[in-house]
Symmetry: C2
Subunit: 365 residues, 2 copies
């Protein structure tokens, strides 16, 4: 086990100019520092360090380029009105990262060290955390297989890296309904595969369908299951919820969809609000039937990037389904306001979701 106190810090002497808070975009600007730690089969994880943001230098035979052994996570830090820095449920991301690691034969990360690395890195770049409405610091931890060897087997060497990007509101006008294309030809993942893990290949597999949907004017794809081509799974980077006849439904975790942290938080919040919520298999036929007979009241996606994203229209095999007249529904709005209020520290946090980042964690910096 690596001692979190042993994280060495090399300060960046050439700080970048920060982008204006209203022109952040998503994932295009990066902070002054990054966290790096190495792994060798014979040593385990070693040499944790915070260094100036810099290129990764890899042998062209590094296994990540050829066999895709790589894992990532995505979480956000928020600046509150009174100047504190809050992380949203980081422990959940750390645990999910280790579940993904397990599925992809990547060595486990020490959870305490991971959390300490997050806190120390955020502290080093705290002047990068934006404070405007809808802004946050997006954090991307990832592991890549670095051993230079052709041959399909787990790597003997890895790097664990954390980079951070100040990001704006996912939607320019706040919370705006999106149009989603229900995919009938391509499949993202199947039970027995790696759909449940946050690994690069799952996203590559979805690019072509996403591009085709975009050409038709849809911003994302809704995936159906790979076996029956009938049951609703998830959107590119969001889990999905449907309010039918007063009850909220969301696809049950089945092994081929991501166990979203926003998803589980929304289930908890809905229960707290005494709104009926069911996790179960939902067929696209059932959903369309509810849409046709007027009982489909709202639909929305949940994810770290978009928080809550209302779905205003679906298209499946040429049949369009407009939901809530294409407007943001009451429940979507309430969930969005509640969750972003808790995250930004303007609402109480009854669930203990937020973790405060101190300015000088463990006194190292």
């Amino acid at each position: 086990m690596v001692n979190p106190l042993e994280i060495k810090v090399e300060r960046n002497k050439h700080k970048k100019t920060k982008p204006p808070q209203d022109q952040l975009g998503f994932g295009v600007h990066f902070t002054d520092h990054m966290f790096v730690m190495d792994y060798a089969q014979e040593k385990g994880w070693y040499h944790p360090r915070i260094v100036p943001y810099q290129p990764i230098v890899l042998d062209p035979a590094a296994k990540v380029f050829h066999y895709g052994q790589t894992i990532f996570e995505g979480l956000k830090a928020y600046r509150t009105g009174d100047g504190r820095t809050l992380l949203f449920r980081p422990q959940k991301n750390i645990e999910r990262m280790n579940r993904s690691n397990e599925r992809l034969s990547v060595p486990q990360l020490d959870e305490a060290l991971f959390l300490s690395a997050l806190q120390q890195l955020i502290a080093a770049d705290q002047d990068w955390i934006p404070s405007g409405a809808g802004t946050s610091l997006y954090i991307r931890p990832f592991v890549i297989a670095t051993q230079p060897a052709l041959g399909v087997s787990p790597s003997e060497h890895y790097q664990f890296i954390i980079i951070m990007s100040p990001v704006g509101a996912y939607y320019p006008e706040g919370i705006n309904p999106v149009k989603i294309f229900v995919e009938a030809e391509y499949v993202r993942a199947v039970i027995g595969g790696v759909g449940e893990a946050k690994t690069a290949g799952n996203y590559a597999a979805g690019l072509k369908a996403q591009e085709a949907a975009k050409e038709l004017g849809y911003s994302q794809v809704l995936w159906l299951d790979g076996v029956h081509r009938t049951y609703i799974e998830e959107v590119g980077s969001m889990n999905v919820f449907f309010k039918i006849n007063g009850t909220v439904l969301t696809p049950a975790l089945n092994g081929s969809i991501l166990d979203g942290i926003t998803r589980s938080s929304m289930i908890q919040l809905l229960k707290h609000l005494d709104i009926p919520i069911e996790e179960r298999m939902i067929s696209i036929e059932e959903l369309y039937e509810a849409g046709r007979n007027g009982t489909l009241e709202e639909a929305f996606g949940t994810g770290t990037a978009a928080v809550i994203s209302p779905i205003g229209e679906l298209s499946w095999k040429g049949e369009k389904l407009v939901i809530q007249d294409g407007q943001t529904g009451e429940l979507s709005k309430k969930l969005y306001d509640t969750l972003t209020g808790i995250q930004k520290g303007s609402l109480a946090d009854p669930f203990g979701w937020m973790v405060e980042v101190s300015e000088t964690p463990s006194g190292v910096l």
Copy 2:
């Protein structure tokens, strides 16, 4: 279109010591040069060059690390007894690479330039091509998405790279039967997914099953289809053939297995030899039934790395099936000898498979 004549060459002044020909291993030693070409959305592919073998330098946000947009190929060059250099069906690899590119939203490569790059790179490193029995120069072309941006969408920047590794016989004792574990829990790919493409994520998805099989003493996994969990697909990096009652069977191309170049060559050779060959769906039950009633005569895998690899034993849900007493069958041996003879130039090449590499292609070097 880039003119193949425009491939710039920077000679490596610090040549490495070559490993002894009997200690090559597979994919661990690399030659003195590599080919590199860049892509930018606004320019297309540009700046093709042969440079000293060197590390790749990428922003940590490069899309390949996060969203797995990467494609590869694998082919071999052989040194003949009379000192010529032959490539095995390079055009097939070039065409398959572009099919994989298409599936993964990677821009198409110019086929003539690709072939010229292969020839010029091999010419630059021709003293690296081993000549011993079972040796060859393994060639690995690959494309990686290099744009530094978080957000799931096709990259606007790529690098196309070719590296080469002198390799030994895949099996130390030549052609030796392998033991294969029939996977009943994990799934590699499904129809509608990316199983047909040579993309990194497919290999990452197979690591865990492969590790579990290895612990039980099996060298590879035989995948079943992801929908019915019944039909035979392929092995980790080989297509599979079974001789039952005098007829050779191989799974039909269905969209979820790789269209192997060794596979299609063996089908062509079997037809030429007037041996009945059928491409169709084969259930694992049918195979086991043939094994139990004594009509399963031979089984073998085909792939660039192993050429022909006899299968001596299968294990499925605890039931073992020993094939040909665990020995190499007559047909496997004949196909192996014929194919390696054609590849090494010691047998005639009635199919026009081999492409000769001249020592000074296009006079650039």
